[in-house]
């Protein structure tokens, strides 16, 4: 086929039905609503939420996970665009990481060493490791579905970012349930969950996001 003929044909299909950013927002909102519904109906939020909201460590956990989720979504919105410069949005992810490290240091300075291990293990480490990946499923599927129609420069990286965003969103939801408020707990188990989801995303992305 001559290139001119191909162009004639393409021109007949001018209108675009898929626009990356609005589609990504729509699917994320859908995924987050699904996960939030699951959390509220099946798992429940912590019973002492009213008092907890006045505790510094709870606010730290809620704020930190929310900030991570927003910054990870910001990265996710860019990763599907060919030639996108990801350096700044990726660098911004260092902010929640730095805040987490400061939180951990504050905890280590204020809590006696005998409590460090206990605070880190918390009461619900296993629940955290199961529920965060579980809550990340819906946003992950949504993000992957949109990325399949997008054009990421690196399928693996795009999948990892989808996992990171879904994991951070899930963590921000689970934080409302999680009874363990020590930054040590967050640093250990939240980080582990989100990393595992990102690695899963990387492997899925590598296989499914080629275009």
């Amino acid at each position: 086929m001559k290139t001119d003929d191909l162009i004639k044909m393409l021109a007949q299909d001018a209108a675009v039905s898929f626009r990356l950013a609005p589609m990504m927002w729509a699917m994320l909102l859908l995924g987050v609503s699904a996960s939030a519904t699951l959390l509220l109906l099946k798992i429940g939020i912590r019973t002492d939420i009213a008092e907890a909201l006045f505790a510094g460590r709870v606010l730290f956990k809620l704020g930190l996970t929310l900030l991570s989720a927003l910054l990870a979504v910001n990265l996710l919105l860019r990763v599907g665009r060919p030639g996108a410069d990801l350096r700044l949005p990726a660098l911004l992810m260092m902010i929640p990481l730095a805040i987490l490290i400061l939180g951990v240091l504050a905890e280590l300075l204020t809590v006696p060493p005998s409590l460090w291990a206990i605070n880190m293990m918390g009461r619900n480490a296993m629940v955290c490791l199961v529920v965060i990946p579980f809550l990340s499923l819906a946003p992950m599927v949504g993000a992957m579905a949109v990325l399949r129609r997008a054009a990421p420069d690196s399928p693996g990286v795009a999948g990892a970012v989808a996992g990171l965003a879904a994991g951070c969103v899930a963590a921000a939801l689970y934080a409302w349930r999680c009874p363990d408020d020590s930054p040590l707990f967050v640093a250990a188990w939240y980080t582990l969950s989100i990393t595992a989801i990102s690695v899963t995303g990387y492997m899925f992305g590598k296989r499914t996001l080629r275009w």
């Binding site: 290139t3 162009i7 004639k8 021109a11 675009v16 060919p82 129609r149």
Partner: protein
């Protein structure tokens, strides 16, 4: 960006914005003006990679299909040139990977075939023509009518006894399939 390049980019960007809103004429103008630029990029990359430039037109067509199916990933508030060259870069990487995978076959497997190939092209490449052969008969009919025959959607619909909407939907699906043939190879 120099002023000249910026002016060119602005023109392409506004054509593409109109195209995405459904303006076929703007889209045609966009594709026609952008193709020599894409061809230049592809040629330069072929020379760099040591690939014969006879493949360039196939790559250009593959890139055009990718531009078409992925145009929703262009951020309409940003310059379009970098987006276009990123598409070319990605498609070239794919293309070279396919090529190296194919050429990793032992030569005995296709030696007999070498004499028949006019250009000495031994790769299992999927140009648009072969891809079209894999479409469903009706899609193929529509594709031929709109491309090689150069008919419009309305004419094609009348001749095939379909509605214009149905022709548009079938075309849209066929183009997605064609673009997909490259990616999955």
């Amino acid at each position: 960006m120099s002023n000249e390049i910026r002016a060119r980019d602005d023109e392409w960007a506004s054509l593409m914005r109109a195209a995405m809103g459904g303006d076929s004429q703007s889209y045609h103008r966009f594709l026609v003006t952008v193709t020599p630029y894409l061809r230049g990029l592809a040629k330069r990359r072929c020379l760099k990679a040591g690939v014969t430039t006879t493949e360039v037109e196939d790559i250009v067509q593959e890139v055009l299909l990718a531009v078409h199916t992925k145009r929703g990933t262009w951020d309409t508030t940003r310059p379009i040139g970098p987006w276009l060259s990123a598409i070319v870069r990605n498609k070239m990487i794919d293309n070279l990977r396919r090529r190296s995978r194919n050429s990793a076959l032992p030569i005995e497997d296709f030696e007999w075939n070498l004499a028949v190939e006019e250009n000495g092209s031994i790769t299992d490449r999927m140009d648009a023509e072969t891809a079209i052969a894999l479409l469903k008969p009706q899609q193929r009919e529509i594709v031929r009518s709109l491309s090689i025959d150069g008919s419009g959607v309305k004419e094609t619909a009348d001749r095939l006894g379909m509605t214009e909407g149905a022709v548009r939907v079938a075309l849209h699906r066929a183009l997605k399939l064609l673009a997909g043939r490259y990616g999955s190879k």
